[in-house]
């Protein structure tokens, strides 16, 4: 069953979106694969301390997106194939890049400057890794 142990609620984004993002990230990095079972709505609600209606909303959206299949009386199950896996990946990437692009534009960078900066930083380790090794 899919584990939500690593899930951390944050301020800013509605919690149902955070849950969706958690699942999408899990899919993209391979932790969540086709056929994995999701906890029941009630159990996830209790695990996260989140209102069941909110959980319901998240599950409903996943179902509409074709990412989960619900069967009466059984847990909902992830449905992954080439097509939707690629789509999720694209969506998540696009979300992340959009945030970054928005921030860079806000600092006054042009597209060329942004590309040059990206090329510079491409091979560098992440900031958190750097701090750890100091």
């Amino acid at each position: 069953m899919i584990s939500f142990d690593a899930f951390r609620a944050q301020n800013g984004l509605p919690i149902y979106l955070q849950i969706l993002r958690y699942i999408k990230r899990g899919i993209v990095c391979g932790d969540i694969t086709d056929g994995d079972a999701l906890p029941s709505r009630r159990m996830l609600s209790a695990m996260l301390g989140v209102n069941p209606n909110t959980i319901q909303k998240a599950y409903r959206i996943l179902e509409e997106d074709g990412l989960i299949a619900s069967h009466a009386g059984a847990k909902s199950v992830i449905v992954l194939n080439e097509e939707n896996r690629a789509r999720i990946r694209r969506e998540l990437l696009q979300d992340d890049i959009r945030e970054t692009a928005f921030a860079l534009r806000g600092m006054g960078l042009s597209l060329e400057e942004a590309i040059s900066l990206l090329t510079q930083c491409w091979d560098m380790p992440s900031l958190s890794d750097e701090e750890d090794s100091e």
Partner: protein, 244 residues
């Protein structure tokens, strides 16, 4: 459906509740917010008939009487248990008086919070007293569980445990109305927020709607109360005489 129709409550000249009208269906988790003296406790007490009031309060169309009052339960920070008696005796008392009492739920919650069964309630710590008070309210077999600041004195881990256990055991037909000051803490837990100020309902919104509008609960509440974020910095200017 629990329905409040134009409720007005006066203490002499002071108006504690001002034209409060409200519909509470089953199956909701409602947060009741408001400053001290806003009327949260008064509202709950009117529902139970502890206070007289003008207006009408009905449960499924009937006024609240001994016939249907078992469908409502109450946990309060003032504690409504008997300090001399043990938890086990309280269990027997509730089981005798309330047909819907759930021994299963009572036992499960007692075990989860590891509360002593045979010590007099008076000897419990404040946190334990709060926990027991809520356990009784949850085990009574009520459809509407009212909690008036039930966690005064419980540490944060305690409280978070409680929200989670609550979410795990609540049935779809049960409604919880929780009055609290801990807005941020309960913002994911509740499905609906009621805001009270000087006896009036000034806000009634579902978290679904808040999500749709991209508002956090805290922001909604601050906006509704016209909270001035610069209040502190402006006051400091006067208090310290510092020039900006």
């Amino acid at each position: 459906m629990l329905k409040l129709d134009h409720i007005n409550k006066f203490y002499g000249m002071r108006q504690a509740l001002n034209d409060v009208s409200l519909e509470l269906p089953r199956g909701e988790i409602v947060g009741l917010f408001g400053e001290n003296g806003a009327g949260k406790t008064t509202l709950m007490k009117c529902i139970f008939g502890f206070h007289s009031y003008h207006g009408e309060i009905t449960l499924d169309g009937e006024p609240i009487t001994t016939k249907n009052i078992a469908k409502l339960s109450f946990a309060t920070s003032e504690h409504s248990f008997f300090p001399n008696l043990s938890a086990a005796t309280h269990r027997d008392f509730y089981a005798n008086h309330f047909d819907g009492f759930s021994d299963k739920r009572y036992t499960a919650l007692m075990d989860f919070f590891a509360l002593p069964k045979h010590k007099p309630l008076r000897a419990f710590s404040t946190g334990q007293k709060n926990q027991f008070e809520v356990i009784l309210a949850l085990s009574q077999g009520a459809d509407y569980i009212f909690m008036d600041e039930p966690f005064a004195g419980n540490d944060i881990f305690n409280r978070e445990d409680f929200y989670k256990v609550l979410l795990g055991i609540l049935e779809p037909h049960e409604t919880v109305v929780l009055s609290t000051h801990l807005i941020e803490e309960v913002s994911d837990f509740i499905g609906r927020a009621l805001l009270l100020r000087t006896g009036r309902i000034i806000g009634d919104i579902t978290t679904d709607t808040l999500d749709g509008e991209g508002l956090s609960l805290v922001d909604y509440i601050k906006n509704t109360y016209s909270y001035r974020a610069d209040r502190v910095s402006r006051a400091l200017h006067t208090l310290t005489g510092e020039d900006e």
